[in-house]
């Protein structure tokens, strides 16, 4: 499942549907998180009011993103952070590799970051001989298994306890066990050594606060606090859209994000980091580098529909609520960001021509829109992107057929000739009053013709047209 591409979404989805183990895991995940979320949103006053407010804050921030970015970087620099700008993933990776090399660092620890998955940071660093160690338990499992995350909150959800135990036996050399506590302690012990010896820690960012230049990262495990607190150099990679205007906005977003993601009132830890320490005696890194990544985000600002995509706070609620994700899981999408939000972000980041199938990987039921904590209208976005796919140049045969069709239907004579021919030709493919895959030769026809009745039958043209019957009756009544 590792090297899937969006071009093969149909095949991926079919393969996923056959995988009963994956089905069980997805059932467990989506039910558990769905239920927990429902309970958690009861513990605030006015959940809908919070969503509305968050949506407004994000919309205003994105509409003035240039101003807020200036403010954020100015304040972060004032506090001692160094700011770097990257147009695309390749540039971001080069900046980070450069920082590691300048410091002659050999050991690098990393905490979970979706944006680093987007830039394929690990692969780029490994090419240069730097092997960053993932420290989030789920990400570490994925790294050991040489796979990719299948969910943005619980990356190893597709793996069973047994598979993880086997993996640890093989790669870490533990004794076989089926005890989750023991497996967790294995990670703790193995990774503690890495934390102690690493010179550089790399993290993502959940929110950047323009007013103070603060970056905020949420977690449950404590590996982010270690990654950002122990090594001498901390490098934070963040998308340019992650900003909030002021510190007090966190009150709203910290109510929404954990409840929507894992159904917690608050995740265990939130780290708010503002620049670097001023006193050499103090705790924490000596350097903070913030790498701001565009990678196609600024282009999404050019329309109010696509701009919404940038409001996403990566909670994963739309994945858990999506009937398509619930059936096929994250890998089938063939992209870093899976589920409904992935289906709208991926084509915008990587080009719609390479990801034509993704905007169609949805039934438009609207469940994602209902749960989204920042009220992103994902169905609206999917339709917008479907229109973009349709605007692309159609295939030659198809466009030729439709030209012929419109010409024939434009004139009376040719229309009558056309229906007469069709009435005669359909005898070859119809059974009863249907033309369909099961009933006739149609199913055996090669695409593109066979595609028309692959999933539904077409009715046959009536023996006599209304106009013919009308004519006959007129003749009769006259006679």
């Amino acid at each position: 499942m590792n090297h899937v591409t969006a071009e093969t979404f149909d095949q991926n989805a079919k393969a996923a549907l056959q995988d009963s183990q994956l089905k069980g895991a997805l059932n467990n995940l989506t039910n558990t998180f769905g239920e927990r979320r429902k309970i958690a949103i009861q513990s605030v006053n006015n959940w809908e009011g919070l969503r509305e407010k968050a949506s407004k804050i994000k919309a205003e921030t994105l509409k003035n993103l240039d101003k807020y970015l200036e403010k954020f970087t100015e304040n972060a620099e004032k506090a001692g952070a160094k700011i770097h700008w990257a147009i695309d993933g390749k540039e971001a990776n080069e900046i980070i590799l450069g920082l590691i090399k300048e410091r002659n660092a050999k050991n690098v620890v990393k905490s979970k970051s979706m944006v680093s998955e987007e830039t394929h940071l690990n692969a780029a660093l490994e090419k240069a001989g730097i092997f960053p160690v993932e420290t989030d338990l789920g990400e570490w499992i994925i790294q050991l298994a040489e796979e990719t995350p299948s969910h943005i909150v619980v990356p190893a959800i597709h793996k069973t306890k047994k598979q993880i135990a086997d993996l640890f036996v093989e790669k870490v050399g533990i004794l076989p066990t089926d005890d989750v506590d023991k497996l967790t302690q294995t990670a703790r012990n193995f990774l503690r050594e890495k934390f102690q010896t690493s010179e550089v820690g790399i993290s993502g960012v959940n929110f950047g606060i323009a007013e103070t230049g603060t970056i905020l990262i949420l977690e449950n495990e404590g590996n982010i606090r270690l990654t950002t607190g122990l090594p001498k150099t901390h490098i934070a990679l963040m998308g340019i859209e992650k900003l909030l205007p002021q510190l007090s906005d966190l009150d709203i977003f910290l109510k929404l994000l954990p409840r929507s993601g894992t159904g917690q009132r608050l995740t265990t830890y939130q780290s708010l980091i503002t620049g670097t320490k001023r006193d050499s005696e103090a705790e924490g890194p000596e350097e903070l580098h913030i790498v701001l990544l565009d990678n196609g985000r600024s282009k999404m600002l050019s329309h109010p529909v696509t701009r919404q995509s940038l409001a996403c706070i990566r909670c994963g609620a739309c994945l858990n609520s999506c009937p398509v994700y619930q059936q096929i899981g994250g890998h089938a999408y063939g992209s870093v960001y899976p589920g409904p939000i992935g289906a709208v972000i991926t084509p915008q980041l990587n080009g719609i021509e390479k990801n034509k199938q993704l905007p169609f990987a949805s039934s438009l039921c609207g469940a994602c829109r209902e749960v989204c904590p920042v009220k992103i209208d994902i169905p609206e976005l999917l339709l917008h992107l479907r229109a973009k796919v349709a605007e692309e140049k159609p295939k030659f045969l198809e466009s030729f057929a439709f030209k012929l069709y419109s010409k024939a239907w434009a004139g009376n004579k040719s229309y009558e000739l056309g229906t007469k021919t069709a009435r005669f030709m359909q005898k070859l493919v119809a059974k009863g009053e249907k033309i369909g895959k099961q009933t006739s030769l149609m199913g055996k026809l090669a695409p593109p013709l066979g595609n028309w009745t692959e999933f539904r039958d077409a009715p046959t043209i009536a023996e006599k047209s209304f106009r013919d019957i009308w004519k006959e009756k007129k003749v009769k009544s006259k006679g």
Binding site: L183, Y269, L301, R307
Partner: protein, 217 residues
Amino acid sequence: MDTSTAKAKIFDSIRQSLRASEPFDVVHAEHHTQEDFGAIKPFIFENKVQTFCENLTAIGANCKIFSNLKHARNEVENLIVEKSAKTIAISDSDSVTRIASTINADFIQKASAEELFDCEIGITSAQFGVAETGTLVIESDKEFNRLTSLIPPVHICILEASKLRNNLGEVLAELSKNLSKSVTFITGQSRTSDIELTLALGVHGPKELFVFIVENE
């Protein structure tokens, strides 16, 4: 890499896109009316100490209320004996220093990262407590507590009742006046459910958290 050119290019692209969006924004706004759901009332509690304790206990941590520091000190001593802890890391806060000075154990104040990995208990205070969620707020500029609260498997926090606030909004308002380089919110002990969604505690941070609230300092 010439990052200043990248910066200019990104800002150009942002501004160009925002300008291009303007005519569509007008049409979009006409079709999307905003709903009014009324005010978001913050939670205010009659008894912050009680609420804090209930919320923290609900997620599996320990919380006890003491009338004065001496009683809390006795409980700290009991825990040290119970855990047969040999090395204990302590922060430099006033209450923690006072407690440690009356207990006979091997304390390291302001322990280095290397030392912390060998400590069985870390003791700190906190700058705020949040009743609504049972959250501790620690500020690096106020106390040497960033790693002491994180690396040892047991974290004991001595929290003065006067530090309790109703909700996070109140804390954020106070923090923004003078923001520390590092501020950490701690709600319960380190946890994960990355393996089959089964809860496991103490994956990277403390497996056990004890909060001792002192009512009269």
